[in-house]
């Protein structure tokens, strides 16, 4: 264990630490972040009203829209001078969610990651091949510094060029792989195709950024002979490192000294008891740069507080079973149908009907957009239609940062629904 004093603490000790930190972070956010002051004042809530952990339910939720509204730095609680790193997630209309980190935040973050890698079975002797994108995405750098903190070796490969990645995996003798589940699977399949699967030394695969299923873990285990684990996090509360699976694979252990997690029934505005499924709501307990109180993750999961066979006593969240909104996660990238719509609707050559089909082939997510051709002037040359497809692909890539398969279809071939239109077909489910 990386932090045994926290990871094996008694429940009441964990709760006492959480309460102490919760009180502190609430007062801190109230004093320094205007949005929180306004939200509290609007309902007459004062930081000193938070006396027990259960009192957290009085605090208004923070939503993604709140964060977007205060883009880029309106949620920060410290002057820019104190922020030493920025990260961002993709956003619906080009406005991403930004997070800012103080030196201490980065240190805490690395600690969270080091714990998660340790519980997955890693040691300072491992060589980690990081195939997460390095950049604004929290995944690459987040894992990177956690691996360094653990004392293992980092190979910061980043994403892309699969065959080269396989060459490096083989030549550098990486023992652990950091990737999205779909990319891990794709790497394994490609290595098999290249006939080098048996030359790889990967024993651990730590996956994040998109949800995975038990079936996929099993398939990866069969193919690579490695032990796959999943971890959880989101840019809004700092990135990966919120929770991760141990060797028991009986849920993801939450770093409870840094995050307070609740499961909430949003419609009823009710905190749900242990074991019940609902939306996970997270409060950061130690963040200096951007404290977030009761962030609605939209992820559906449940919690258990029972001690784990691995010896840890921290709460565990089950794998995320779905999302409360329509956001799609494609190869680890957040995609909103509204983003696609905004691109298509801005192109006069196209009809107004479109559909989005998501599928998974060879364990890679595929996003396909079907759109009706509206402009008869394009029919003079086939090349104009090809150019149109290319233009749509380009425009979508600019907004989504993803390669999308575009299919032109005949007018009226997309089904018209009475009432609410079903634009998205997700065949992965």
């Amino acid at each position: 264990m990386f932090s045994p004093e926290i990871e094996t603490a008694k429940r009441e000790e964990i709760r006492a630490l959480q309460l102490e930190r919760l009180k502190k972070i609430v007062a801190y956010a109230y004093e320094r972040v205007p949005m929180y002051r306004q939200k509290f004042d609007a309902i007459g809530l004062k930081p000193e009203h938070i006396r027990t952990l259960d009192d957290v339910r009085h605090i208004p939720f923070t939503t993604k829209d709140d964060l977007r509204e205060h883009y880029p730095f309106g949620m920060f609680a410290v002057p820019m001078k104190k922020i030493i790193r920025l990260h961002a997630s993709s956003g619906t209309t080009g406005k991403p969610v930004v997070n800012g980190y103080t030196r201490k935040d980065l240190d805490d973050w690395s600690t969270c990651i080091a714990r998660i890698l340790t519980m997955a079975g890693a040691t300072d002797e491992d060589i980690f091949h990081v195939a997460f994108g390095y950049g604004l995405f929290t995944g690459g750098f987040g894992l990177h510094y956690g691996i360094e903190k653990l004392g293992a070796t980092v190979v910061p490969v980043s994403s892309g060029n699969t065959e080269r990645q396989i060459m490096l995996l083989k030549d550098f003798g990486a023992t652990a792989l950091i990737a999205t589940p779909s990319y891990a699977m794709y790497l394994a399949e490609t290595a098999k195709k290249m006939g080098v699967l048996n030359d790889l030394k990967i024993r651990l695969v730590c996956m994040g950024a998109e949800a995975s299923t038990a079936e996929m873990h099993e398939a990866l285990h069969q193919l690579l002979g490695a032990f796959p684990t999943e971890n959880y996090g989101l840019t809004e509360v700092g990135g990966p490192g919120v929770a991760g699976e141990c060797r028991e694979k009986a849920g993801m252990h939450i770093n409870e000294d840094m995050f307070y997690a609740e499961i909430v029934n949003i419609e009823q505005n009710r905190v749900l008891p242990e074991g019940e499924k609902g939306e996970m709501v997270i409060t950061t307990l130690t963040k200096e740069g951007m404290p977030v109180l009761r962030y609605r993750t939209k992820d559906i999961t449940s919690l258990t507080y029972a001690p784990c066979k691995c010896g840890r006593t921290t709460a565990r969240m089950s794998r995320v079973v779905g999302r409360t909104d329509d956001m799609l996660i494609i190869r680890g990238v957040n995609v909103f149908p509204s983003q696609i719509e905004s691109v298509l609707m801005a192109m006069p050559e196209l009809g107004k009907m479109y559909e989005i089909v998501v599928d998974r082939k060879n364990y890679m997510d595929i996003l396909e957009v079907h759109v009706e051709v509206g402009d008869a002037n394009l029919l003079t040359d086939y090349s104009k239609l090809e150019a149109l497809v290319e233009k749509i692909r380009h425009n979508l890539r600019v907004v989504l940062q993803l390669d999308v398969k575009v299919k032109l279809v005949e007018p009226f071939s997309i089904r018209r629904a009475e009432g609410k239109v079903k634009r998205v077909t997700d065949l992965r489910k």
């Binding site: 029919l379 003079t380 086939y382 007018p411």
Partner: protein
């Protein structure tokens, strides 16, 4: 003198060509020419109907994306190298032929060539200068 051709967007999946041809057939409209190239996901069906204007209206009403394109039509003797001579003429003047198709009517001893080029006006002048017989829709 140009020949009007209809162009219809079509997805490459079963039943689509039938839908198009039947839409015109049941209205008693004859095809004079019809050309489809093999493509992957979608293509353009190009044709000339006996009554292009009616065909256009019918297809529009049926919900097809249909456009009108003007082509150069020439008539050459039905003998070897006749097509090559026309192509050569375009080539020498650096006119690019975007697509071309030809057909022979049964009771004629001439072949008809329909083509779309990047510089229509110049191509027409050249053909006229060479005395190559140009087609209009009526001759079809």
């Amino acid at each position: 003198m140009l020949v009007k051709q209809l162009s219809v967007f079509m997805e490459n999946r079963p039943g689509r060509l039938y839908k198009l041809t039947h839409a015109l057939g049941k209205e008693g409209i004859d095809f004079v020419t019809l050309s489809i190239a093999d493509t992957k996901d979608f293509g353009i069906v190009r044709f000339i109907a006996r009554d292009n204007e009616r065909a256009y209206t019918i297809l529009k009403n049926e919900g097809f994306t249909v456009g009108i394109t003007e082509l150069i039509g020439v008539e050459v003797a039905d003998r070897p190298n006749a097509l090559a001579e026309v192509v050569q003429l375009m080539e020498e003047s650096s006119i690019n032929i975007e697509y071309l198709y030809s057909f022979v009517l049964t009771n004629h001893n001439t072949a008809k060539i329909l083509m779309r080029v990047n510089e229509t006006e110049r191509a027409l002048r050249l053909l006229e200068e060479k005395g190559i017989k140009l087609l209009s829709e009526k001759i079809l």
